[in-house]
């Protein structure tokens, strides 16, 4: 996968993750172009797009669009399922997720994404395991707020 974008129906970017090195300018141009193109598409249209030499796979969940760019030979349907699994993860973590959760806790959304996809490839597809990893890290945070001891290897 080359990158993933989350944006609202109003075209506001909520999350962006780039797995290929691009300059800031290019990133902005790409996201602007794509947001425009995708928002202009009708609901019954195909979830796939050809854009430059990339394949864009997107899906709308309520007011949020999830959009991934993959290479041409990649499997579009499985990419669609990656998006779906991510939404499931968010949903489970936040407990019926809504756009506001993602706006206000975007760093959490990034952490979940990083646990699910690494370097553009799905690393852990088990919902249980992803959430376990996140919870462990969160737990660590709670503890570190209570005390300031270094090293928590006893946790494991």
């Amino acid at each position: 996968m080359q990158f993933m974008l989350l944006f609202s129906r109003q075209g506001k970017l909520r999350l962006q993750k780039w797995y290929v090195p691009l300059s800031d300018k290019e990133r902005k141009k790409i996201s602007r172009d794509l947001v425009q193109t995708i928002l202009a598409r009708k609901p019954k249209m195909c979830s796939f797009l050809e854009w430059r030499d990339l394949k864009i796979v997107y899906k709308r969940y309520a007011s949020l669009y999830f959009c991934c760019a993959v290479e041409d030979q990649d499997n579009e349907l499985i990419t669609l399922e990656i998006i779906h699994r991510y939404v499931e993860l968010l949903d489970k973590y936040f407990g019926s997720v809504c756009e506001l959760d993602i706006i206000f806790n975007f760093e959490k959304a990034y952490f979940i994404l990083d646990e699910f996809l690494l370097g553009g490839e799905a690393q852990e597809t088990s919902k249980k395991n992803v959430l376990k990893a996140i919870e462990q890290a969160d737990l660590l945070q709670e503890v570190s707020m209570l005390s300031s001891i270094d090293g928590f290897s006893w946790l494991f």
Partner: protein
């Protein structure tokens, strides 16, 4: 599940109105970030938002630089900074603090720090270097979470040059007891493999260990690496085929833990990955494919559930089945599957169905026929993406009968399409079709495609027009037609036409308007003059127009029109335009000169070119007498430069043998361009070099004058050297084939029950697709020898082009040492074992060498598969054509591979400079024979060579043969070594595994290298050692080894670009084998 999500998300708009609803309670409404976000949602204008963010950033800036800010506050600030950046406001001042946070913060703060770094910086950002130490520290941490964070950031982004610093630590993590760490480590290595493959070459065996990991997650992660490696070299991993099949069997059989299920489908990601790998392994390999059939069948059978994820697997399965060696019952099932996709009411599946059809239709055109009505419906689909994919499909099934309809559909799409990228791609395809099946569509392509199309499209069109086809009458008609339609276009509204089209128009009118008798040159000239006056005509176009006018102006009435124009432009600021204007002025007044310079090209009498530029001899000798430096070819200059500046760190590009061949290829292509650089050489070597390189990039406009006149084709040929030449020379038998298929088509086309007349008419799209004719119609119908002949027409020296076909003339050509000739050969050299005949040919002269170096002979044998070419001369005295470098050496019998036109390719074993026996492939006319392959090239510059040769419209492929690395010891003293070391510019560094341990490890390892690769050990001092070797006389490579942290840190240097990399690879292999 998804329904729940959808429902909750639909409730959002009401939440966004900021009512204190439940659900917003859990939001951090009191935090500063919360306030900021709220503040922004309340704003109405972009301007207000900007003000607010600037204010916010100013306050963040204040706080981050204050020494009193705790790490906890810093974390909070960083989150706000990320938010501002995501809105598009720059907060670069926080970058350094993000790194600091990752370095100094505890757990969660560190996590935010790493996140901020990965969002703010990209791989090439210089600040990233500061992160290396933090990553190192965290990788060694006892805290699992910290290790995870470090591995995550490493696989997200890491500076390429710093990989060696952390590589040992990441490798170590492959043995970690926790699977999550092992998995992340594998993915980190995958990332390294992607950005710097040679850095992780030596740990391939560890990848195998990861593949066998007891945790399926780690195994899945390792498949990413394998997919990549197998893509690059499928041959190297055939032994794993059975293992991959077994894994897939287990997955499909539901043997994995439930955790891996996704919507009750077992590990779909893993399945898809495996199917892709199997497709690569089974491609063109019957035995490997046979292993897979069973599991593929099983996969097809199991995937029955009606869910996206099963379709994803099915799609991959179908692709795999059509990629590997075919098996009929599987193909049948797969075809049925594709049918389900295509007929599905779900648009996503329909799209994939079309995509799958596009993929398989070349092998089985009947499939397209089966679904023709659906395809026709898709052509009118409201979604452009579906349309686009359908066109792609049609493009693949185009043949002489349906080309008109298909091209029409494509043009229709082009007119509504707004995306530049698609336009360029599609215009290219239309142009390809138009060339293959000549018709009058090109005008539409030019006016629709506009200025966006690749520059080679108009060039190849002009070439097509000027070279003509089989019959003179056809040519005449086509040219007349072009002239007619362009005149009409110009009379209408030329202002709307794209520049490139105008250029094409002016060229055509200049060349061919005389064919139309009733057309007065004055009329054309006036039309052209009108173009000149238009405001937005670019100066490039203007010079095309002026040239056309020059050709048209034959004195008489035209002169008055022309005079005005030439006067206007002869004072133009643009030098090219001014030159053209002056040419026009003089030539229009001096009809005698004009007749000499601008011969009317009747298409039959080819232009003559003096490629040796003998007419410049007088000029050159005068210049030399006046003290000018003699001309040196570019490679010689470069060498001298390299010697002058021994310490230069910049790579000088091509080494000597390569630049020689590239140079001669250039010569062959464009004698006129060569004249430019040599003409300049009198001034200074530097300038002429520049001139030479820029002259290669000039397009047709600027350099079209040769000694004998206008040379339009040459420019076109040069640009379009790689473009497919259209099918114009059909053999009668093929024509017959096509006709018969045409007549058969109606019977084999299934008629739909209630045919809509319009749609039925569109079914003409599928003409010629019936099975009988598919073989010749689906492929590129033109026979190969014809293609060569066509290409030769543009490039080859005219004196030779008429003589080409007979062998004796070929020989003559060889002796004449013509530079201007075209290589076109197919040459295949493959693995050592298959050929034993070649070494047999070694004559007595070399038999004693054979005894001395038996291993080399056996290992270096190669197979020469000669292309059966009718032109092949049977009785050529090959020895006389040996390249000069080789002629004085002992050599075995020469095996000619193929001879096409004036070029001969041959392979023989040759003793090269007394150092050993090597297979050598060479080609070219005698005297100017180019040594295509030295042993070194053979192994490692194969791609380079074939790229080089492809340039001259030939394809030459060398299969990689598994030959022992042919280097020899180079005996030098430590002092000599020192001087050489400093003067070599190409280097590489790498860690190798040590053999044995303790004090003796270094010596033991170096001895292995000495034995296996014949390296010369110069000296060993303590924990360091230096070695040297060479390939040929002038291709040394030096090696410096140091024992460091349990590994052997190796640094290689050589003047030959790829040698260090290649040697390190062989060192690794040698040590592994040991």
């Amino acid at each position: 599940m998804s329904d729940v999500v959808e429902k909750t998300l639909t409730a959002l708009p009401s939440l966004l109105s900021l009512d204190p609803q439940p659900g917003s309670a859990k939001l951090s409404s009191t935090s500063k970030l919360g306030n900021l976000i709220r503040g922004i949602t309340e704003l109405t204008s972009k301007h207000e938002e900007e003000k607010l963010i600037q204010h916010e950033l100013a306050s963040i800036k204040d706080q981050v630089s204050s020494p009193n800010t705790s790490m906890r506050q810093m974390k909070e600030l960083m989150v706000r900074a990320i938010y501002c950046e995501s809105l598009g406001y720059e907060a670069s001042f926080t970058y350094i603090h993000a790194i600091k946070l990752a370095q100094q913060g505890t757990a969660l703060e560190k996590r935010v720090g790493y996140l901020a770094v990965s969002l703010f910086l990209n791989e090439s950002h210089e600040l990233l270097l500061l992160l290396v130490n933090t990553v190192l520290k965290d990788l060694q941490s006892t805290n699992l979470i910290e290790v995870c964070m470090a591995l995550t950031v490493v696989s997200q982004m890491f500076p390429k040059d710093m990989i060696p610093a952390i590589l040992p630590l990441v490798e170590e993590k492959l043995n970690h007891p926790k699977e999550i760490i092992r998995r992340k480590a594998v993915l980190a290595l995958y990332k390294f493999y992607l950005i710097a493959p040679n850095q992780v070459q030596h740990i391939h065996n560890k990848f195998r260990k990861a593949l066998c990991d007891k945790d399926p997650g780690v195994m899945t992660a390792s498949l990413h690496i394998y997919l990549q490696m197998i893509q690059e070299n499928p041959e190297g991993y055939k032994d794993l085929t059975a293992s991959f099949v077994t894994i897939l069997k287990q997955v499909v059989g539901g043997k994995l833990p439930m955790d891996f299920n996704y919507h009750s489908v077992p590990a779909p990601w893993l399945q898809i990955q495996l199917l892709r790998i199997l497709a690569l392994l089974g491609k063109n390999d019957q035995s490997a494919s046979a292993v897979m059939y069973e599991v593929l069948d099983e996969s097809l059978r199991r995937a029955e559930m009606n869910h996206n994820i099963t379709y994803a697997i099915l799609y991959e399965c179908v692709k795999c089945i059509y990629t590997i060696h075919p098996k009929s019952d599987l193909l049948e099932k797969a075809a049925k599957c594709i049918g389900n996709f295509v007929l599905s009411p779900k648009i996503n599946l329909k799209y994939l169905g079309l995509k799958a059809l596009t993929y398989v239709v070349q092998q089985d055109p009947r499939l397209a026929l089966q679904h023709q009505m659906t395809i026709i419906e898709c052509l009118d689909h409201s979604d452009l993406i579906i349309k686009r994919e359908t066109l792609e499909l049609l493009f693949r099934i185009t043949n002489a009968q349906n080309v008109v309809v298909i091209v029409e559909k494509m043009l229709e799409f082009l007119r509504v399409n707004t995306d530049d990228y698609t336009t360029i791609d599609l215009v290219g395809k239309v142009a390809e079709l138009a060339e293959k099946y000549p018709s009058d569509t090109m005008s539409t392509v030019f006016s629709v495609g506009g200025d966006m199309m690749q520059p080679d499209i108009p060039n190849s069109f002009l070439k097509l027009l000027s070279e003509g086809f089989d019959s003179v009458e056809e040519d005449r008609k086509l040219r007349l037609f072009a002239v007619d339609s362009y005149i009409t276009l110009l009379q209408k509204e030329p202002g709307k036409l794209p520049q490139r089209f105008l250029q094409v128009i002016s060229w055509v009118l200049g060349e061919y308007s005389h064919l139309k008798d009733e057309l007065e040159p004055t009329v054309v000239l006036k039309l052209l003059a009108k173009l000149l006056d238009m405001k937005h005509t670019s100066s490039e176009t203007k010079s095309w127009i002026l040239m056309a006018m020059t050709k048209l102006c034959e004195g008489g009435a035209e002169v008055s029109v022309v005079r005005e124009v030439s006067e206007t432009y002869s004072s133009s600021m643009d030098t090219v335009l001014r030159q053209r204007a002056h040419e026009l002025q003089y030539l229009s007044q001096d009809s005698e000169l004009r007749a000499k310079v601008l011969l009317r090209d009747n298409g039959l009498r080819p232009l003559e070119v003096d490629s040796s530029l003998s007419f410049l001899d007088g000029f050159v000798s005068e210049a030399l007498a006046a003290g000018a430096a003699p001309y040196k070819p570019p490679h010689q200059r470069q060498e001298e430069l390299a010697q002058a500046k021994a310490l230069s760190l910049e790579p000088y590009g091509l080494s000597l043998p390569m630049s020689m061949s590239s140079c001669s290829i250039t010569d062959r292509q464009s004698p006129t361009l060569l004249s430019m650089s040599s003409g300049l050489s009198g001034d200074s070597a530097e300038i002429s070099h520049k001139g030479g390189s820029t002259s290669l990039k000039l397009d047709g406009v600027k350099r079209v004058w040769g000694r004998e006149g206008y040379l339009p084709q040459r420019a076109a040929v040069e640009e379009a050297a790689q473009v497919e030449v259209p099918c114009t020379l059909r053999s009668p038998s093929q024509q017959g084939d096509a006709d018969s298929s045409h007549s058969q088509t109606p019977t084999s086309t299934p008629t739909p029950t209630e045919p809509d007349p319009e749609k039925q008419q569109l079914a003409s799209l599928f003409f010629g697709l019936s099975s009988q004719s598919s073989v010749c119609l689906m492929g590129k119908p033109e026979p190969t020898p014809h293609r060569f002949r066509r290409k030769a027409k543009g490039v080859t020296d005219p004196t030779s082009s008429s003589l080409i076909s007979t062998p004796s003339n070929v020989e003559k050509l060889l002796c004449n040492n013509l530079l201007d000739s075209n290589i076109a050969s197919e040459l295949a050299v493959s693995s050592a074992k298959q050929i034993t005949e070649l070494p047999q040919g070694l004559k007595t002269a070399s038999s004693d060498i054979k005894q001395n170096n038996p291993s080399l002979i056996v290992d270096n044998g190669i197979v020469a598969a000669a292309d059966e070419d009718p032109d092949r001369p049977k009785d050529l005295c090959l020895i006389s054509h040996l390249p000069a470098e080789l002629s004085e050496l002992c050599h075995s019998e020469i095996t000619p591979l193929c001879t096409i036109q004036s070029i001969l390719c041959a392979v023989n074993s040759c003793q090269y400079r007394g150092d050993g026996i090597f297979p050598v492939a060479w080609g070219g006319p005698s005297g100017s024979s180019v040594l295509i392959q030295t042993p070194f090239n053979h192994l490692h510059q194969v791609t380079h060579v074939s790229a080089e040769l492809k340039k001259s419209t030939q394809c030459l492929s060398f299969a990689h043969s598994d030959v022992t690395f042919p280097c020899r010891p180079l005996t030098v003293s430590t002092e000599e070594y020192g001087t050489m070391w400093l003067s070599f510019s190409h280097d590489t560094k790498q860690n190798l595994t040590l053999i044995g341990d303790g004090q003796e490890a270094l010596t033991a390892t170096l001895n292995v290298l000495k034995q296996k690769l014949q390296l010369h050990v110069v000296e060993i001092i303590g924990q360091e050692g230096i070695l040297s070797c060479r390939l040929l006389q002038d291709q040394p490579c030096l090696m410096h080894c140091r024992v460091h942290a349990g590994t052997l840190a190796v640094w290689l240097r050589s003047p030959v670009p790829d040698l260090p990399d290649c040697l390190i690879y062989h060192c690794q292999r040698a040590l592994q084998e040991y």
